[in-house]
Amino acid sequence: MSLLRNAIYLAWTDTRARYKKSFLGPFWLTLSNLIGVLGLSLVWANLLKEDMHTFVPSLTIGMIVWQLVAGAIGDAPGTFVRQANVIRNVAIPTWFFAVRALSRHAINLVHNLVIVVGVVIYFKFPLTLVTWLAVPGLALVILNLYWITFFLGIIGARFRDIEYLVSSFLPLLFFISPVIFRPDRLPVSMEIIWMNPLSYFIEVVRAPFLGKVPSLATYLIMLGLLLTGGTLTALITHSRGKRIAFWI
């Protein structure tokens, strides 16, 4: 239990070390996201002829959840490889490194929440009981990202191509996810969006913010992913986890 706390603390030191010599520190993430959201809002709201008042909050939350998901998945294959010099020198259970890597992205998310709060206040977005469904939604996202980090970390330590493979597919997944456009507003049917599992990661957190209860299917898919992925990861850790120290 104390190791879990330590992993999260060390993720916080990682974040501090990364921005050590900059003035804004981790808030650079917040600022660059703010700039991104503003720019995209201007362009896309006009292109898609959307109402700014509903489009901007939807885009903001979509972008921020996407950053968490894409950041965690993009870094996942390097989870153990990057920590090679610790793994080869200190006996720590492998999950420690997965928690540490994922916590770094969760810390970034916390910094980005400032933007969400700003948007909610500025656009006078109504906070209702439904909004709080975003919390269990986010918990489902993080639990799923945990097994993904662990799983890709192990595979990525053995096969170094995985890292490049993952990072070349992520942009594609972004374009077939509902981050920028709202699927119900599109002139053409974009069913392909729902073939992308990451779309549900966005939907389960964003829908409550927009005053909608996420569909039962969304919850079932998130839970199903968690169960299958979690089992798969447990199996692979059981059979291959001991070899990680030799691969890195």
């Binding site: 104390s2 190791l3 706390r5 330590n6 603390y9 060390l10 030191t13 990682d14 501090r16 070390a17 990364r18 050590k20 010599k21 010099n85 610790v86 793994i87 080869r88 020198n89 200190v90 006996a91 720590i92 053995r158 096969f159 170094r160 191509d161 995985i162 493979l165 001991k242 070899r243 120290a245 030799f246 691969w247």
Partner: protein, 246 residues
């Protein structure tokens, strides 16, 4: 009560080259047969430890000798629980601290003080316990105001002082050290000797891999020799015949 016992421990590990690390060769291996399969499927397997058995008890200070590549570092990592053996059983009782590679686990951008806490927490201490190490480490390392500077500004000798101080101040029951004292000055060697003596006298286990016969004579009371993965306990006379200068 610290205790380590190895029974017929054999450890081998694969060395993957770039070809084996890539998915392409693995896919080719599935898709084709014959010669390519052979070529792609080949990887070197190094057997670093062969049927190693020994028992260490309280107060044992073991010197580990052997030429480069004899398996000294691998044995230390196996004792620490970092590498898992292919066969054989290992029993380990007691908190382990390791000093293997200089700079391992340190965050170069953060100060010495912050790194003391990081290292302590990686060894499983709570934040407060890790903070409590600071005065002891300050006193031992004599780094003074350098502890406020980023670790990337440290010389290797200073880095080693810091790592050794943290590893010994958590009062481990098993202390494992890979050849490293070469970078320390004589003042540091004296201080570290005193610490290790104290550790051994309080009934703990110390294992030290080194090429320096002088250091091994001073620190250790048992001597293990590794040769091609085979381990045998030898007498200290072996050191004399080598005539390696200190």
């Amino acid at each position: 009560m610290a205790e380590i016992s190895f029974e017929n421990v054999t450890l081998s590990y694969p060395i993957y080259n770039n070809r084996n690390m890539s998915l392409r060769s693995q896919i080719v291996r599935i898709a084709t047969g014959g010669t390519i399969e052979q070529e792609a499927g080949q990887h070197t397997v190094v057997t670093a430890l062969k049927n190693v058995s020994f028992k260490l008890q309280d107060g044992d200070a073991v010197g580990l000798v052997g030429h480069n590549g004899a398996g000294k570092s691998t044995l230390l990592r196996t004792i620490a629980g970092i590498y898992q053996p292919v066969s054989g059983t290992i029993h380990r009782k007691g908190r382990v601290a390791t000093v293997f590679e200089i700079g391992a686990g340190l965050e170069p951008e953060l100060s010495g003080y912050e790194n003391i806490i990081n290292l302590g927490m990686m060894m499983g201490l709570s934040l407060n316990q890790a903070k409590a190490l600071t005065p002891d480490v300050e006193e031992f390392t004599e780094l003074g105001d350098f502890l406020k500077l980023p670790v990337r500004t440290y010389s290797s000798g200073m880095t080693m002082r810091l790592m050794f101080a943290v590893a010994t101040s958590i009062t481990p029951e098993i202390l494992l050290i890979d050849e490293m004292f070469a970078t320390g000055d004589s003042n540091f060697q004296e201080k570290s000797l005193a610490r290790i003596k104290k550790l051994i006298s309080s009934a703990k286990i110390f294992v030290f891999a080194s090429h320096n016969p002088g250091l091994i004579r001073t620190y250790c009371n048992r001597l293990f020799k590794l040769e091609h993965g085979h381990l045998e306990e030898v007498s200290f006379d072996v050191l004399g015949s080598h005539k390696v200068s200190q």
